[in-house]
Subunit: 484 residues, 2 copies
């Protein structure tokens, strides 16, 4: 793992550099002057309209541009523009005020635009100003260091921090790291990914200097990982562990050091990033940034799966209404974990499981070790000197169809008994009540083998890609040739 | 577990008693007056001849009757008569003297009898005095407490101890316990059984008083078991543990408390005895004393095994010469254990194994969980943060036919890989060099499935019974109905 054979050195101090692959990627992801112009004018338009609106509204607010556009860390073709309307603390939490404000903006200010009224943790509106979406987000105007009132109130401070701490050349480093993480599949704090947020990427560049330095650091990471961005201390990072006991990575927010910016990063995402960093530094390639997409053809999927298609169980949870994405993924992962542990308790060997959520369904894939279990399996009983257990065990199995009981070399009783289920699909179907969480009780459940699901034409588009990836298992940046 | 509803009380003090089943068994195993007469006259004949022989031999010795006949603890139809010739210490170890003595006895004294010259740890001769075999055993005449010179020198002291410590009614208790242990399959210290010797049975009766009291004690045993026969202490029993680290039961020999009379008892034999004692006291039956014999018909064997016949591997080790029994069993068990651990290392699940030795072959049975393994099995690699292991693992599996590698939820790398062997029989056949001990290198090895071995007519007689028991697994005293 040596430093790059410097094609482009831009910081003697950090010995940061870029190799050809990175320059090439950067050319592709860096917004063009024309793109800046187009996006910029859309942003200006929204800001202008919001400023003008003040004159006929009796609500005072400050308009402020946020998001990756404001920080200039966006990727070509993929910008997020948040225009914040910061309200006075005395009424910013009043739903009535916020709602009336948004309704007026929606109906009068943005008339003629395509507008969506949306609700995450708080209400906001999305406006399409050709060719981009601009999000108009109400928040509270707080002072630096003050306790935030809503989830978005810290955002302006984050934006300031990034602007103050990143030098112009580092913005491209942020872009490289974002694209790398996207390629590797660990970009995004949402529950579907449980990875690295954009702000976390910016903090990593602020901390280590540049893309390659972050990767070089990651090669040495092992969970728990503690990182102190400028303005914070390792002591603060370590202190976060008590507050976030389930996290594997701890990065204090310079704007509020009691908050862990890396709270969402799962062990798997962290591990994937470490793995990809190590392999990339050893042998760089564009595949890490732009991995091939899995084919979306049902035939190619079945061909790739081969006889394993009969070992892969597809569970479909059909929702009676549109699925809220975070909720769906939450249920999906819970179902997957419960299915895996149920099957293992029943004596199946679970090879792997995964989840996919679309607007109407949660899909869970489970691969088991054997297509069917042998009709008799070894069952260990108590040692003969545990008198009560021993008597219960012997009496139970004397009158059953088990083979045995017998005493093995170690003095333990064993029987060969019929497993309750010999077929994983059948086990899942007949024990729905044991693995379906209450939160999904309104969903209708169906269970298929992968070959059945394909045969019935249930899988299509992205879901096939997901299934293809599940069959190949090695990620596309690791074995790109498996995806062509 | 209540005391017996005393049909026959014979010791107020110990509250020892016998129930009907035991009285009935006793009637069957107690030698008849006529049997005493016949066996007694055979013994007298041998003693007489040996005494007479002294007159024309220039070797002095003492003739002494030993064995279960001398102690009156023998079972009808199953007596062992040892007539010892005790020589002076000055020449008892001289092979020349002992050999000449035995040759003279063989050729001149027992002329006209059927005589076998035999060699266990030491030479002796067996004489058939219709209708019984009498063993004529040379030994050294030592004093009580003196260090024995040969393995048999303690025997006269054992005989004396038993005669002194067992009251007449207890001799029948010894008979009951011997027969019970035979039925349960734990009687005999030889390596084929690794169970309780006759002398140990006598000591147990001397310690606990009677058959039922031994069983009642056994119900509470768990290894390590310490027992102090009259004249020894529990402290002495405990001290034996250091000298016999592999034993599970410790009984000091009253004749030499540094010797563990129970050294041969295996964990399995001990467990079987505890199990049988518990079940017998709960629900007594003659099946414990006289369990049914397995059928010796190949067809019944195959029928009983069903599809499991394809999961049971039969390994045959054919010896170039007659097998010495103890040696054969020793090799057999070693082979069985090595086969089991080899198969488990290769990812097979071993259900059970067993051994049988006849005059020319060692037979090992192994039952595995699945007829064949799935063609791809889960293989766990290192966590991604073990950099060197990780790189080796990834590189190895990038170029192989494995599925993966992938990173699971726990940050560990996995692959699905082709198992080296999918078939247990094939694995055993192709790895003979790994499991065959040096001591068996002259044996020729063949491997079959049970159905093949039966189909080729390789199994017959006792070996079929052994295989039948291996298939049923539950011992015949536990599930007698499975053996009819």
């Amino acid at each position: 793992m040596s430093a790059c054979r410097a094609e482009t050195f831009f910081s003697q101090q950090n010995s940061c550099c870029r190799i050809d692959v990175e320059e090439e990627v950067l050319r592709r992801i860096k917004p063009s002057p024309n793109e800046y112009l187009v996006v910029g004018s859309a942003v200006n338009k929204v800001v202008e309209l919001l400023e003008e609106a003040k004159s006929f509204l009796d609500i005072d607010y400050t308009v402020s541009v946020q998001g990756s556009f404001a920080k200039d860390t966006w990727l070509s073709g993929d910008v997020d523009i948040d225009v914040f309307i910061l309200l006075d603390k005395s009424y910013c939490l009043s739903i009535a005020v916020v709602d009336r404000l948004l309704r007026v903006l929606e109906k009068r200010v943005f008339r003629g635009y395509h507008v969506e009224y949306s609700y995450a943790q708080h209400p906001y509106i999305r406006v399409y100003v050709d060719p981009v979406w601009v999000e108009v987000v109400p928040g509270c105007r707080i002072e630096a260091g003050e306790k935030p009132l809503t989830a978005v109130d810290r955002t302006p401070f984050h934006t300031n921090y990034v602007k103050r701490h990143l030098e112009p050349w580092q913005l491209d480093e942020v872009r490289l790291l974002k694209r790398f993480m996207k390629g590797v599949g660990v970009y995004g704090a949402e529950i579907a990914v449980r990875g690295f947020s954009g702000y976390l990427v910016e903090l990593l560049i602020a901390t280590f200097g540049c893309f390659r330095k972050v990767l070089e650091a990651a090669v040495e990471w092992r969970p728990p990982v503690y990182i102190a961005p400028p303005g914070t201390t390792l002591e603060q990072a370590r202190r976060l562990r008590r507050k976030y006991p389930d996290s594997v990575m701890f990065v204090p927010d310079p704007v509020d050091p009691n908050r862990n910016v890396a709270a969402a990063v799962s062990r798997r995402s962290l591990a994937l990033f470490i793995l990809a960093s190590t392999l990339y530094l050893k042998s760089p390639s564009k595949a890490f940034f732009f991995p091939p997409k899995p084919p979306s053809s049902p035939n190619k999927l079945l061909e790739k799966a081969g006889w394993r298609a009969r070992r892969i169980i597809v569970v479909r949870l059909e929702s009676p209404e549109k699925i809220v994405e975070d909720v769906g993924w939450g249920i999906g992962w819970r179902v997957a974990r419960r299915l895996a542990s149920l099957l293992e308790n029943l004596g199946f060997s679970v090879v792997d499981y995964s989840v996919y959520v679309d607007s109407k369904n949660i899909w869970v894939f489970v691969e088991v070790g054997e297509e069917v279990k042998p009709p008799l399996v070894l069952h260990r009983g108590p040692p003969v000197w545990k008198k009560n257990n021993m008597l219960r065990f012997v009496e139970k199995h004397l009158t059953s169809t088990s083979v045995g009981p017998w005493v093995s070399e170690d003095g333990i009783l064993y029987v060969l008994k019929k497993p309750v289920h010999v077929d994983a699909k059948e086990a899942i179907e007949s024990r729905v009540r044991e693995w379906l969480p209450k939160s999904a009780s309104s969903y209708s459940v169906s269970v298929y083998r992968l070959d059945e699901a394909v045969g019935r034409g249930l899988l299509s588009g992205e879901l096939i890609e997901k299934a293809y990836q599940f069959v190949v298992k090695a990620p596309p940046w690791l074995k790109p040739w498996e995806y062509s």
